[in-house]
């Protein structure tokens, strides 16, 4: 089972994720229309580029926008989860050893205490986000079954990873479950809301271009839309 998961299934999941997202990116940008969106993308490439970069950059900075600042607790939980969710899968030593073996790739890694801290922060933040979804009426009304599904899929690799890391019970069971749940995430990315891990950049870039070329970003004002 473990061999299957770390072998062919791993390549399959990674391939589906990468190819799927390339296709989605391609379809997103070719689906933009200057006339339907009412944004002259091609006529003002420099302004568009500047707007896009600014829009993405500002929103990647914790408390970098008015919106992030206006909801400080949500922002803490949001970044607490997302920093862990991006950094731990990519920069954990064990993941790098695995990638080196499978793909011949490796890069910067972080120390175990840092990885532990990020993982725990992510898990705690995720529980806060779940609590928020249950408690706040304005979030509850938006929540559907798919949202719970996504949360479950997202949470599983963290929980199984932690159980494996602290060797609670049967290590080989948890590590197998960890690889499986990780691959489920990869497979789900192109086909679900998880596509936002890539499409976030596309959507933000679009609004950045919109404001940069046409709306509030004109006339030399540096709005953080």
């Amino acid at each position: 089972m473990y061999t299957l998961l770390t072998g062919p299934l791993f390549y399959l999941a990674l391939g589906v994720c990468i190819i799927g997202m390339i296709v989605r990116f391609y379809r997103y940008f070719t689906g933009l229309s200057w006339q339907l969106d009412r944004v002259a993308y091609k006529a003002w490439p420099a302004m568009g580029f500047k707007g896009a970069v600014r829009s993405i950059y500002k929103w990647l900075i914790p408390y970098g926008t008015y919106s992030w600042r206006s909801q400080p607790v949500m922002t803490a939980a949001f970044f607490g989860f997302h920093i862990g969710a991006v950094c731990v899968p990519l920069f954990l030593i064990a993941h790098n050893v695995f990638l080196k073996e499978k793909l011949g790739l490796s890069w910067f890694t972080m120390s175990t205490p840092v990885a532990d801290a990020l993982t725990w922060t992510a898990v705690v933040s995720l529980f806060f986000l779940i609590l928020r979804r249950l408690v706040l009426p304005e979030v509850r009304i938006l929540t559907d079954k798919k949202d719970w599904g996504i949360l479950l899929i997202t949470m599983a690799p963290f929980i199984t990873g932690l159980l494996a890391r602290y060797q609670v019970g049967d290590y080989s069971f948890w590590i197998t479950a960890h690889v499986l749940t990780g691959e489920i995430v990869l497979l789900a990315i192109p086909f679900t809301k998880l596509s936002h891990v890539f499409l976030f950049f596309a959507s933000r870039a679009q609004l950045g271009m919109d404001f940069g070329i046409k709306r509030g970003g004109l006339r030399g004002t540096k709005m953080a839309w």
């Binding site: 969106d37 206006s70 304005e138 979030v139 938006l142 596509s195 959507s203 609004l207 709306r215």
Partner: protein
């Protein structure tokens, strides 16, 4: 397919059509007929397939349902944080649902959608700047209004407004002759006070082509005279076009894209005909948005810009004050607590956030200007934007919507609200009428005229001197 005689899927394209619709008081029969109007699901779905592309589809798909847009919406806030007023919910439960059902929705659904599209969103685009994914619900509501309009589910006043643009190239039934006559008559009225005052009509190659909001000609003609006076004193070379003088677009509020194109094209034609250096539009927010920001796209201009540089009235005013073309008498500056209403349509949606403040620095005695909170690009809608002010059917909802601006104004302690936007001006007038908080409100033109230093050579001389001699 039951189509009403008044309420149907056809746009109004004749003066008689408009008269007939207007004769139906408050749209009583119109809305009765709407209850039986059938949805053309095939047309709806086909239109969506042709026009709903990656941007909106991705927005609907990746919305994380995080609810961060909730607090950004003034209608959510003033309706006791009703979860049904969360922007993401409003759009997902209407446009999102129509797409999910591939256009197969019924009359009741469309009636509900119409209410959400016109009474629960003013297309102020504030939520768009609060969403981590950059999802602009206001844009989607604009799109949804287009779908509703095509199906005939559009508020009575909006249907009439769009029809007016189709028939008169103006939001009201004012012909070119009416317009020029009114302008000339108003200028004549002020000639005694400002000798040499005139309104140059259809002059080619002027520095400025001035365009207005039709209601100035119909209901507030003094605004026309004030514009003429200010251009006159500033020594500008200016003109008005006899055709293509209307800056506004109720068609934009209605979602009648074909009428939007016809309307804005009439203004661009005037620009091509008269070849002015610049166009200056009156103190109106949505009109600027329609003609300067969105218009080029309706007219199919790939550079997204009007044929000549087009600026808002506050940009011209700030420039005239900066360069000394207009001079303010410091003794006459405003000396009472005052605040400024930032219009969504040219501040958040066109970046003009510092311009009005520059004007304030010239006309308000230091210490008397108080900013609203929030302000600039984060300011809340006046409460009546996007056509909300004008729809009788949703007047109750609109009046609730005004509470946000009322509280913002009350918090400043201002007695005077400067509102360089027709829509905001109306909303603030209505909120004073509704809640009686003891404020006044004003456009910039009349305020500036009161404190202007008129150069000697432009003053009426003879009579004063005669009187002096008589004494």
């Amino acid at each position: 397919m039951p189509e009403g005689t008044l309420c149907n899927k056809k746009p109004v394209e004749t003066a008689e059509g408009i008269t007939t619709l207007l004769a139906d008081q408050s749209g009583k029969k119109y809305y009765e007929e709407m209850k039986k109007l059938e949805v053309d699901s095939d047309l709806l779905w086909k239109t969506i397939q042709n026009t709903c592309k990656s941007r909106i589809r991705t927005w609907l798909e990746i919305c994380a349902h995080c609810g961060m847009c909730a607090d950004s919406c003034f209608l959510y806030l003033v309706n006791d944080k009703d979860p049904k007023q969360v922007p993401a919910y409003k759009i997902q439960s209407t446009l999102g649902e129509i797409i999910k059902r591939k256009g197969k929705v019924d009359n009741a659904f469309m009636l509900h959608t119409m209410e959400v599209a016109w009474a629960q969103c003013t297309c102020c685009n504030r939520c768009g700047t609060y969403c981590p994914h950059g999802i602009d619900t206001g844009i989607m509501f604009g799109y949804l209004r287009g779908l509703c309009y095509q199906q005939g589910f559009v508020p009575w006043e909006m249907k009439i407004g769009a029809g007016m643009h189709r028939v008169y190239n103006a939001q009201m039934d004012i012909t070119s002759e009416d317009y020029v006559d009114t302008f000339q008559w108003m200028v004549e009225e002020s000639e005694e006070e400002y000798p040499g005052l005139e309104v140059p009509v259809d002059v080619e190659g002027a520095d400025i082509m001035y365009t207005v909001n039709a209601r100035e000609a119909k209901h507030y003609p003094e605004d026309l005279a004030e514009a003429a006076i200010l251009f006159h004193i500033a020594g500008e070379s200016w003109t008005i076009p006899s055709k293509g003088w209307e800056l506004t677009s109720l068609a934009m509020f209605a979602g009648d894209w074909a009428a939007c194109k016809m309307q804005v094209q009439s203004v661009y034609d005037a620009m091509e005909r008269l070849k002015p250096k610049r166009m200056v539009g009156t103190e109106c927010g949505h009109a600027h948005r329609a003609t300067v920001v969105e218009g080029p796209y309706w007219a199919g201009r790939p550079d997204g810009r009007p044929p000549v540089e087009s600026i808002h009235y506050i940009e011209w005013l700030a420039e005239a004050l900066r360069t000394g073309k207009l001079k303010i008498d410091p003794a006459k500056r405003i000396k009472e607590p005052c605040t400024l209403q930032d219009s969504c349509n040219y501040v958040r949606n066109h970046g003009l956030r510092e311009v009005a403040r520059e004007i304030i620095s010239y006309i308000v005695e230091p210490g008397y200007f108080i900013e609203m909170t929030p302000n600039k690009e984060h300011n809340f809608c006046c409460g009546g934007g996007g056509g909300f002010n004008g729809i009788g059917l949703f007047r109750k909802q609109r009046n609730v919507g005004l509470k946000c601006k009322r509280d913002q104004i009350l918090a400043t302690g201002a007695k005077l609200v400067i509102a360089p936007c027709h829509n905001c001006w109306d909303a603030i007038r209505d909120l004073e009428e509704e809640f009686e908080i003891g404020i006044r409100w004003s456009f910039l033109k009349p305020l500036i005229i009161k404190m202007l230093i008129v150069p000697e050579h432009l003053k009426p001389v003879d009579e004063d001197e005669d009187m002096d001699e008589d004494e």
